[in-house]
């Protein structure tokens, strides 16, 4: 259980090994040719190493991206290699360029040093190939790689990204207007083919490209959901800004977009919490869920308090080696949980264990003769009354003589 905290940080690196396998199994075949435009995109992001060379090459980015791509690779090869850990796969990427037309873009992108970004890259690159607009495609690739770069920079784990649509999302650092200089540079050079006006609009108001959206984004709502899945589970503080597309039939006001992003973030967190709190699978609605969360946290804190009281009364035979206790601890933790489940006379049962919430909240601590005798009779009575009154936390805690406080005394 304690590994939960570790998992979030370690997951990013675990996905790296799977990147190539994931990409190739995702089956992007028969794709039209489009250039991996990560150079200009990267220049847009906070990655300062990809500054000059990528921007210059982007000016030639019109209808023949392929030679430009080669040039990009040549210019910024070293910097790419610096930042993509799988250098060897980059080397094998190079010969794949001639076979580009056969739809090996996925392999290229994926073998191009994707670590934890692999799934995001897949998602971004799984464009609507029915769309014929190359600008669309370019932009989406840039978006795809933008997100890829962000992921690499921030090293956050990916929530399972499923391929579809042209959505990708990055989080606004502070919901304030962007730095216009940075955006102008990146956006304009990303779209030399005449969409600069739109780009200006987007960078000013976060307005989505609705005409392309409705025309090309056939599965709008699904794509929105997947874009949401693409976003980080936890936002790193050094992310840039959000690109959000309005779904079909939704308002495209910048404020409502920002609100929607925020709501989606909040609901995502609530879902995470729903998994953590036992017995809350069927609850829909934030208010009830918040109630449950609060109850659960309070009960956990009360349990800590109660256990520390028990530890205070138990006179520990500390002749035991700490290591021995520790090893026994870890080994016995599973076994003791199982015993607790059956309300064995040995110990208190965890009220929230294994989904028997909320029926078993009251613990009867003093029915067990094996317990170390709590010295004061009144204390016993208080404890009993606490637990027999059920989970009425405020009044019950007040009746508890010694530490009558709702919040742990910190």
């Amino acid at each position: 259980m304690g590994g939960n905290g570790d998992n979030n940080d370690g997951k990013a690196f675990q996905n790296g090994g799977q990147s190539v396998i994931n990409c190739q199994s995702s089956g992007m075949r028969g794709n039209p040719f489009f250039a991996p435009a990560w150079d200009p995109v990267v220049s847009m992001s906070q990655h300062e190493n990809f500054g000059g060379s990528s921007m210059v090459s982007q000016s030639e980015f019109t209808n023949s991206p392929y030679p430009v791509v080669m040039e990009n690779q040549g210019n910024s090869t070293t910097s790419h290699l610096v930042h993509y850990p799988s250098d060897s796969s980059y080397a094998e990427l190079m010969p794949k360029f001639p076979s580009y037309g056969s739809g090996s873009f996925s392999e290229m992108v994926c073998s191009f040093g994707l670590t934890e970004c692999s799934q995001i890259a897949n998602t971004g690159c799984h464009l609507n190939y029915s769309s014929n607009k190359e600008a669309n495609v370019e932009r989406t690739i840039t978006n795809c790689v933008e997100s890829q770069e962000d992921r690499q920079l921030t090293e956050e784990p990916i929530i399972g990204a499923t391929p579809d649509g042209k959505r990708r999302k990055r989080v606004a650092e502070s919901n304030s207007p962007f730095d216009p200089n940075k955006n102008a540079e990146g956006e304009l050079q990303k779209d030399p083919s005449g969409h600069s006006s739109e780009v200006q609009k987007e960078q000013d108001e976060k307005k989505p490209r609705t005409e392309q959206n409705t025309a090309a984004n056939l599965r709008g709502k699904q794509a929105a959901k997947q874009a949401k899945d693409n976003s980080h589970s936890g936002e790193a503080p050094n992310e840039n800004y959000i690109h959000v597309r309005a779904r079909r039939g939704q308002a495209t006001n910048s404020h409502s977009l920002a609100e929607r992003v925020r709501r989606e973030k909040i609901s995502e967190r609530m879902r995470l919490l729903q998994e953590l709190v036992p017995g809350c699978n069927k609850i829909t609605g934030k208010a009830v869920m918040l109630d449950e969360i609060i109850n659960y946290v309070q009960s956990l804190q009360q349990q800590v308090e109660f256990l520390s009281m028990k530890l205070a009364t138990v006179n520990p035979e500390l002749s035991h080696d700490i290591e021995r206790i520790l090893s026994k601890d870890i080994l016995h933790s599973r076994g003791s949980n199982a015993a607790l489940m059956g309300f064995s006379p040995g110990m208190n049962a965890h009220p929230y264990s294994h989904g028997i919430f909320p029926a078993n909240i009251p613990i009867i601590p003093n029915t067990n003769p094996q317990f170390p005798p709590v010295p004061h009779a009144a204390l016993d009575h208080d404890l009993q009354s606490l637990f027999q009154m059920g989970f009425d936390s405020s009044s019950a805690i007040d009746s508890l003589g010694a530490n009558g406080r709702l919040k742990p005394e910190l």
Binding site: G2, E305, I325, D329, H350, A402
Partner: protein, 152 residues
Amino acid sequence: MTSVHPNSTTTTRFARRFLISLSRMRRPITLGPPSDEEVCRRTRRIKLAAYSSMARAVGSRRAWSRALLLKVRNRVRFQGILRNRFLASKKKRVIKRNKASGEMNKTDMLRKLVPGGETMDICGLLEETAHYMASLATQVKVMQSIVDQYSK
């Protein structure tokens, strides 16, 4: 004090720290059964030790662990006299903003429960709550098994 072993999880780190701090709190058996007041005092100390062991085992990655350690440090050293001024002012601003609704809603209750929750927005608060809940569950599990050990 932190023995860095391979495969050390938060659980083992917390358990180790907590056991070490428990061993420091032993009292001589010859004194007989502890009085009520002593039990209360020990309870508070053990509880504090449990929370700070957990926060230290988690590290500074999380806002709640940082806030908890700060609180413990302020409490232990300065008895609440010296406070982090920036946090206090920010806290006041945030509380004023949150209390604009008038009554105390669930979010405020959650803020009180999670250490460091006063100065966070809803999004960060929910995330910290999730992590805090997981750590609390670990804490309860470990403490429970320690109590099991001692009463066998």
